[in-house]
Symmetry: C2
Subunit: 357 residues, 2 copies
């Protein structure tokens, strides 16, 4: 570690926000010193609660994120917001009515906001987001709110890195149920129907509860069983069973909440649900398991990243691959044969084990 | 290669759709024989034109995909549709008004429809989609239409594997311009404003043309320059220059088209634009480059997949990593140190080079 890095980390340990911002940049861009910085942060990780907010564009995730941040700040907690969304107002992307509110909260000294570059992330977006959350956690923030947009695979990967994942939906988004089908049921610890005073909110809440098996009713058309959704037959006892299960230390049934972002209605109940979920995670041992899983994935990501860096930055190996391409195009070899030969060459040459610059 | 695989590949070569479906499943699930199957397909790849259709949910991608498929089938071409979208009607997910039309075209003997499992794909969704496209290409299909939803990183990765990427937008989707900002400008070879008779279509077409520098006008608020969008100042000659550039063999300016999915209006012009883009790719040498890039990425994906399979399926290595986790949790070591030790152990033990079962 050089002097500049040591100085930066001293400022980081002293709680200076400017140092945090620089450390995050070093990690995100994998700049010189990033390994020392990550090593410094590692033993300090484990205090923050990580809350993911995911959902389709326009669901009001940024507004709810702002309202949660305000609540936590009012409790005297320090808050980080990580926006993994190129269209998030936190990135300066959108012009929403509550922009003023966001700008106001953004000035609070207890708040740190970071927007992740979603394209060309070294080592994958989910891995990088987890690493940035580790830095914020090590810095001493109490709550980390991760806002992700969409229903794609990468968004689900990002949602999985939170302690608690809240899925935000709105009645008018016609694709709400489709979002649910896209694998979101499995990752949701909490459902929030935002703009909950609009027509269709009752219906949407009901649909979600049916999908959760909390409520009997007509099966939702078009939801195939292999999506992992357990569509229990109409059963008046299902709801009572589910309610009882909520008090069970060993299981958790995602609550279906209603908020109105414009007025803040429902936000206190949302905060309470998040607290209750965290308490469940702690007493059930699930928190320990989620954190161990994150650590396992972190090591695996680092191994894979190291392999990629060593292989694809190796000039001799790159030149060898380029020379193989014309033969591949002519069909004289197959990608499998070339790939195995490349890997064998790299091992023989020590590419995977030598110290990297 | 065993007898069953040989028999299957003979049926594949004979053009039997059932054999194609089985080969795609073998590839997608990485079942026994997948290497022999991929090797068989490789020299047969390179005839099909790959067309990506991407855009936000509800833009009408599936409808346009159906209309394109009908057009190509009427031309006597064989068509593949690969739906990388858990909410696509092709996957049985949605109940749209034109479902009937899709079901009708789905019965055509010249059409093959495949929906990609978007979760837990072995080796990454983009890599797997490319591999499935290779199989469809090797089978002898003339056009492969890849439908992807959303604006996430993985969707952009998927869009990049097409010869031609069309971005589908609708006037009423308030996030259209945000979609453009999310990196879509760079990958779009063609813009389609669907539901082009609705209010706002003129404005959206105009906004896209401004972003493309085809049209002067007020700069779009909130689009920072680092998104790669060249916002040319108001310039009446820009459009004429751009039109001239379209006839230049060495450059391509994405056209902004308008369609009405419900009536099919604008679809012939869309087909013509796709043909013109392919002709441009051929004469400019860009097609050759795109295909070479795909081949290079294919080899790299295979290497990385092979490394992952060997490392994470190795029982001794997995046990070693599990034993390291408690020390990591106590902060006695760092993920970086454990990752490097794991890689060194795997190389020393020959894990990365031994034949896999």
């Amino acid at each position: 570690m050089n002097d500049r890095t040591a100085e930066l980390l001293a400022a980081f340990d002293a709680g200076r926000i400017a140092a945090l911002a620089r450390v995050v940049s070093i990690i995100e861009d994998q700049r010189a010193g990033h390994e020392a910085v990550a090593a410094h942060c590692h033993p300090r990780v484990g205090r923050a609660r990580r809350i993911g907010l995911t959902g389709p564009p326009g669901a009001g995730k940024s507004t709810l994120t702002t309202l949660l941040a305000e609540t936590y700040l009012a409790q005297g907690l320090r808050v980080g917001i990580v926006a993994v969304d190129p269209t998030s107002p936190f990135t300066g992307g959108a012009l929403l009515g509550d922009r003023v509110r966001m700008e106001k909260v953004a000035l609070h000294p207890g708040l740190f906001i970071r927007s992740m570059a979603t394209r060309g992330s070294l080592g994958g977006l989910a891995a990088m987001t987890r690493e940035v959350c580790d830095v914020l956690d090590a810095f001493g923030l109490d709550r980390i709110l991760v806002e992700t947009v969409g229903v794609g695979q990468s968004e689900l990967d990002i949602a999985r890195l939170a302690d608690t994942s809240a899925v935000i939906l709105v009645p008018e988004s016609g694709d709400a149920i489709q979002t649910l089908k896209a694998g979101v049921m499995e990752i949701a610890d909490c459902f929030v129907v935002n703009k909950g005073d609009r027509p269709g909110a009752d219906r949407l809440c009901n649909d979600i509860e049916v999908m959760l098996g909390l409520r009997g009713g007509a099966a939702l058309a078009g939801i195939p069983a292999h999506h992992g959704v357990d569509l229990k037959a109409a059963n008046p006892k299902a709801r009572a069973r589910a309610a009882a299960a909520r008090d069970d230390a060993e299981s958790w049934t995602p609550p279906v909440l209603r908020t109105i972002g414009a007025t803040g209605e429902g936000v206190p109940a949302f905060v309470t649900a998040l607290d209750r979920h965290f308490a469940y995670l702690e007493r059930s041992g699930a928190l320990r398991e989620r954190r161990r899983m994150r650590l396992r994935e972190r090591v695996r990501d680092l191994v894979e990243r190291s392999v990629r860096r060593r292989l694809w930055h190796d000039a001799a190996l790159t030149a060898w691959l380029e020379a193989e391409l014309p033969g591949l195009e002519r069909g004289e070899s197959t990608p499998q044969v070339v790939a195995e030969a490349l890997l064998a060459r790299s091992v023989a040459a020590g590419t995977l084990t030598e110290r990297t610059p």
